[in-house]
Symmetry: C2
Subunit: 261 residues, 2 copies
């Protein structure tokens, strides 16, 4: 137990680096909670637009960013390391990536992570309140400051190591990118057959409703789950190319999972 | 144009064969629209239970079923042909399968299909109103009678050939069974890493919201979409076995799709 309570610094001012989807959504959510002092982005057009939206200063060069309680880096994974090298050594800095580990980055005394596990696109509003934020920092006080900041945006904030965050990112790619790709393949397949994808939407909604309530293993149905190789063979004869390959691989994987039932 | 309007027979009485998930949900929806005269099922326990629920007669043998405006067969694909052979020749019969073509079944004068494109499980109530029903029959009057019956249950009823129905079934397996299997693999992966699947749920909800509004191709994001092979390699090093194989195959498929952007 601590004998004296520690007074943590509250993050009240922020400068943002980046003007992509994450910068867009986080800045909108943060603007009610703290003051955005400046924004820098390699993309002048979208960076200027974002600064204008928040009535704040657009820093044409990274050196022009206004020092703040936090610099929040919302750029692509490959650009993070190069940016950190150019920032003032005494500036607290956090980035928003799931895939980049803290130890992979250059030495910087106050460096942390605030990773929102969600897919963002500019056109779609996202309710950040339900988005889980994963927090990590090289020192515990800064980690707690980041936790408190995320807590202002979301009801799910969790401390997580770089390894945990990377694993979550792998799983996120699976349930978002891979699932969406299967939708794309189904869209293609039906388009080829002159059928409309819209007929699948109630089924997609129901599939989602079930995974939100039960485990995926319990929810599984269908020919591969039943070991109904006759229907699988029929379906393979109706498909070709990539759809056929992926049909086969995923069916085999389902059959293997349930074969001991 | 027809010079005289045809008076179609309205389906007012039904006997049901089967007591699985489809029989369960369709009988519940039909009971408000017509009279269920009898139910037969190979599974005596669930069959009797379903008959009891609807205060109707349980036929221990198929020959004991009470003749009705329609016999509705809700059994597994492999059992349909054998059943049709045992039914009175003048009895109108429809089945609910997506994968079985009309011409694959024995000769029977009034044979049709009423295929609800949805995943059913007994524990979950389904709002049939939004479920698409696909209708086919060997003669057009019977097809229209089935259409009118389905129209009492749903706002989406469509005439579709056996071929269309089979293609829809392939696509349904993709967006339901395969998507659910990816959820299962993500669940396994996170369990191995001592992380909780629940953190993915807001992302799954958002992924679904997007596919209901836009095309899958537009919605795609992530490392494979960006051609970010560095992150893909990192993710492959974090995975193993089946998850690794499927990660690789689906990533390659996404890369191929967008490589000409």
């Amino acid at each position: 137990m601590r004998a004296f309570s520690i007074v943590l610094k509250e993050i009240k001012t922020i400068s943002i680096i980046g003007s992509g989807n994450v910068a867009h959504h986080l800045s909108r959510a943060l603007v009610g909670e703290c003051k955005i002092l400046s924004i820098h982005s390699r993309n002048q057009a979208t960076g200027f637009e974002l600064a204008e939206e928040h009535f704040t200063f657009f820093a044409e060069s990274i050196e022009d960013l206004i020092p703040a309680d936090l610099f929040l880096i919302c750029v692509s994974d490959d650009s993070i390391a190069g940016l950190i090298d150019r920032l003032p050594k005494d500036q607290k800095v956090a980035y928003t990536s799931g895939a980049v580990g803290l130890t992979e980055l250059p030495a910087h005394s106050d460096l942390g992570v605030l990773y929102p596990l969600q897919t963002f696109s500019k056109e779609q509003n996202v309710d950040l309140d339900s988005v889980p934020f994963f927090i990590e920092a090289r020192n515990t006080d800064f980690a707690q400051e980041l936790f408190d900041l995320a807590w202002k945006l979301s009801r799910t904030v969790v401390y997580a190591s770089s390894e945990d965050r990377k694993n979550l990112h792998v799983a996120a790619v699976m349930v978002n990118n891979f699932v969406n790709h299967i939708y794309a393949l189904a869209e293609d397949f039906l388009r080829d057959k002159k059928m409309e994808f819209k007929y699948l939407k109630p089924l997609i909604e129901e599939t989602t409703r079930k995974i939100l309530e039960n485990s995926a293993e319990e929810n599984q149905t269908g020919p591969a789950r039943r070991g109904d190789t006759k229907t699988i063979q029929k379906h393979l004869s109706l498909t070709e190319g990539e759809v056929k390959d992926i049909y086969q691989i995923l069916s085999e994987s389902i059959i293997n999972r349930y074969k001991h039932d």
